[in-house]
Symmetry: C2
Subunit: 510 residues, 2 copies
Amino acid sequence: MSAGWFRRRFLPGGLLSAPGPSRPRASPVPYRRPRFLRGSGSGPGPADASRRPDARPVRSPARGRALPWNAGYAEIINAEKSEFNEDQASCGKLCIRRCEFGAEEDQEWLTLCPEEFLTGHYWALFDGHGGPAAAILAANTLHSCLRRQLEAVVEGMVAAQPPMHLSGHCICPSDPQFVEEKGIRAEDLVIGALESAFQECDEVIGRELEASGQVGGCTALVAVSLQGKLYVANAGDSRAILVRRDEVRPLSSEFTPETERQRIQQLAFVYPELLAGEFTRLEFPRRLKGDDLGQKVLFRDHHMSGWGYKCVEKSDLKYPLIHGQGRQVSEWPLPRIPLKLPPTESKAPKGCSLPLCALLVHLLGLSAVSSHLPCPQARLLGTLAVSRGLGDHQLRVLDTDIQLKPFLLSVPQVTVLDVDQLELQEEDVVVMATDGLWDVLSNEQVARLVRSFLPGNREDPHRFSELAKMLIHSTQGKDGSPTGEGQVSYDDVSVFVIPLHSHGQGSSGH
Amino acid sequence: MSAGWFRRRFLPGGLLSAPGPSRPRASPVPYRRPRFLRGSGSGPGPADASRRPDARPVRSPARGRALPWNAGYAEIINAEKSEFNEDQASCGKLCIRRCEFGAEEDQEWLTLCPEEFLTGHYWALFDGHGGPAAAILAANTLHSCLRRQLEAVVEGMVAAQPPMHLSGHCICPSDPQFVEEKGIRAEDLVIGALESAFQECDEVIGRELEASGQVGGCTALVAVSLQGKLYVANAGDSRAILVRRDEVRPLSSEFTPETERQRIQQLAFVYPELLAGEFTRLEFPRRLKGDDLGQKVLFRDHHMSGWGYKCVEKSDLKYPLIHGQGRQVSEWPLPRIPLKLPPTESKAPKGCSLPLCALLVHLLGLSAVSSHLPCPQARLLGTLAVSRGLGDHQLRVLDTDIQLKPFLLSVPQVTVLDVDQLELQEEDVVVMATDGLWDVLSNEQVARLVRSFLPGNREDPHRFSELAKMLIHSTQGKDGSPTGEGQVSYDDVSVFVIPLHSHGQGSSGH
C-alpha cells in the first residue's frame, strides 16, 4: 500500500473514483452454511425451518464429525431480519510449508502434513451485513491468506529470535542486538502475518464482489493456535473470552463507531471532504435541531476524551458522523439499512441535507428528537454499526456518493494467550461468538453457564457442541435462561467453544 | 479549530506557511526559577553553583513557605547539558468563579476566595527543550488557561449531572436521559477543560515565542484537585505515580515517538509531503544501508502492531521518521540537537538525503550502522524525544523546512483518581517528576524510597520536601542510592511529592 493511495482511492478527483470499464460479470457467490455442518440434518437454504423465535433450529456439527481440538460449535439464524443467516464459520488444521512446493490448494485443508510443515489450528467467525456474500468469501479465503502470510515469514518464526534478514544472512554483526533491543519475538511475526492476512483477504473480497456485482461486508474473529500460543485476531464486534474456574479474561475488544470515535472523527477532521458537507463530525448527546441554535450544548471533537460546551451553529444541525448509543436493542428486530450500489445516474444531494437526514431518521425507525425512544445502536454515517471488518468496498450512504470504506479498517487487533504458560485445568475453554450472543449475555453470565454445564457432562464426547447449543438456547428466552429479563437475541448467533486442556499445551509441531 | 486548518497550517501552499509581515519584536521571556523557591538561598541564574555532578545543589522551597497541601518540592539542574535549568514548576490554589466579575488577574493566585468560588489546587511540571522559554511561559500561563476553561463550564460541573444546555434550560424533555445514556459526568467536563486548556496554552506559547523571536517547547504534567478527585493531565514524558503502603499505581503514561509510533506513522501515510522526501515512515530494527538493498528485512508500518519482512528498496534507506530505542542513555550526557529558526535564505535540500542524514548521525553522536554503540534514544524526525507537549511551533529538522509540529499533540491524556473513594493512609502520596528521575529510578524503587523515608519522619513538617530532595539525591549516585549501578541522571530533575491524607478527602468546596 503506497503513500498517497488513500487520496487516490477515496478523495474527489482520485484516479480510482472514476468508474472502470464494464467487465463481464462473474457468477454470484453461492449461499452455503459451513462445510463442517454437512450431515447435521438441515439443508443449506434459508427456508429450512420456521423462523418463529421459538422454533428456529439450533444447528451444530453431526455427531462423529470432530472439529479441531474437539471444539464445539452451534448456530442459529436470525428472526427474519434477513433472508439468509449472514454469519459464517470456518475451522481447520493450518499447515505452513517451510518451503514452497507449488502444491495445489486444498480447500478442506486435509493435506497430510509431513514433518517439515509447521502446523496449527484455526477457528473463525464472520458476521455479515448487507448480504451473506462477504462473510462466505471470508470463510472461503482468510485461512489461505493467513497460510500464505505465515509461509512468507516461517523461517523467522522458527528461529530462536527473528533474524534481521529473513535469509538469515547477517549483514551487520550487531543485527541480533538491534532485534533484541526492539524486543521483536516470533509471536510478533505471527501478529504481523494476521494483520497482513486480514488486509489481503479484504482486497480479495473487494475484487470478487465487484466482479460478481454483489455487495456487503463482514466482521472477522479468528483464533489461531501455533507454537504453544493462541492468537485471537478481531476486526468488528464479535468477541472471544477465556473461561477458567477462577477467571474470565476477554481475549478481544469490540470495534464499533463508539469505541473508535476518536480515530473516525480524526479522519473526518483531516479530510472533511469525506463527509461531502452532509454530516458533522462532532458528537452531541442527541441530534440537534433548530431550537438548539445559539445555545451552548455538550459536545466532543476528535481530540477530546472529555466533554465541553459549544455554541450551536447551523452546521452542527447536520446528521452526526457517529450517531446513536450502545449495542443493538434486542427487544425488537431493527432493520439493517438497505445497502445499494453507488448510484450511476443519480447525483449526491447538495446543499440542504434535510431529505437525506429525514430518510435516515425514518430508516433508523425513530425520531430521536421529538420523543425519547430507546437510543438507536451507534452507527457510522447513519449506516454501519461496526468500524472494522472485511468488504464494504461499494458501501455508500443511502442516496449519496459518501463512502463508508475510508472510515473502516480491515486490520485486526491481535491478542496472544500464552497457553504453554497457563496451568490448564480440564474445563478451561475459549468461547468465541458473534455479537448476537453478547447482546444478551455478559461475559460473566457465559462463564457461569460454562461452569455449570461442563462438570456434569465429562463423559459426553460432544459436550463442547452441547455447551455451544446451550449458550444459544440461553439467548432465546428458553427455560433456564439466565437473562430472565425478556432479553432475546433476534440476530444470527454463532458460537465456538474451544477446550484448551490436552490440546493447547505442547501442541507445537503436532 | 476548523476543519481544513491542518492543511492550511502545515501543507505546502497553505495560507499560513507564507511568512507574515515582520512585526516589532517583544522582549524575550526572562529566565527565572519557580516563585515558590524565593528565599531558598540560591539566585535565579544558571551560574549559581558549580555544575560538577557531585556538587550541583538540590533546591527546595524555603522552610516556612508552604505549598498547597503541604506538598514537597525539589529540583536539580542538569550537568552542563544546557545553560539553564529547562524544567519549570508551578503550583497554587485554583479559584473558579461561578460568574464573571472581571477582576484583574492575580499571578500569584492569592485571591481571597469567597464561598461562591469553586476551589481546588494545582501542581505542574514542565520539562523544556530547545531553551527555557516555553517552559517558563507554560508555568506562567497554563493555570490561567485552565481556570478560564473551568469557569466556562463550572455551572455544568456543579450540577448533579451536566445539563445538555449549559444554561440549564431544557429544550427537549428527554435531554437528561440522553446525557445519562452517554454516561457524561461532571468529571468529563474537567477532563474536557484540561484538554482545552493545554491547547489554549499551546497557542499562547506559539504567539509569545514568535513575538519575542524565541524558540523551544516543553512537556507538561499537571495534577489538579477538584471536588474530591485528583486529575492528572500529561503531555510528554514526565510521570506521576500514586504510592501507598501496598500499592504503586501509575497515574500517567509517557508520550514519546515510540509509544505514539502508529499515530505518527499514520499521519505520514496520510500526508507524505510532511516528510518532504527526506524520511521514510517505516520502522526497521536499525538504519538500513546499501548492503541491505534487495534483502527481506524486518519492518513495521502504521497499521501494524506486529512485524513483517519487506524487500528493501532505495527509498527505505532514507532516515526513519522515528529512529532509536528507549529512554535517554544516562551514562553520559547526550547533547540535545540544536534547534534553529526556520531558514529564511537557505533552501531545503532536495533529492539525495545523505548530507542531512550524515549530519543527524553526527549530531546523535553515533554511527549505528558501522558498530553497535548503545542505541540512541528514540527521536521523531531525528530531532525530538517526545511526541506531545507545548510549543515547538517553529521547530524544523536541522537545515530543512520539515516541521515537527504537525506530528506533535498538545492535548494531554487525563487520568482521574477518585480520592474520596480511597481509604487513605497517612503516608499515601503522589510523586510527580520529570523524566530525569524516571530515567534512573523505577516506580518500584521510588515507592521503596517513599516507604522507607516517611514513617521515620512523621514529626518533620517539611518531610515531603525532604523526601523530594532525597529522591533527587538518589539520582545522583549519592550514598544510599538504590540504583547501585552507576546510574546517574545528568538531566534536569524536578519532583513534587503531594500527600493525600487529610488534604485529598472532603476537599470539595474548601
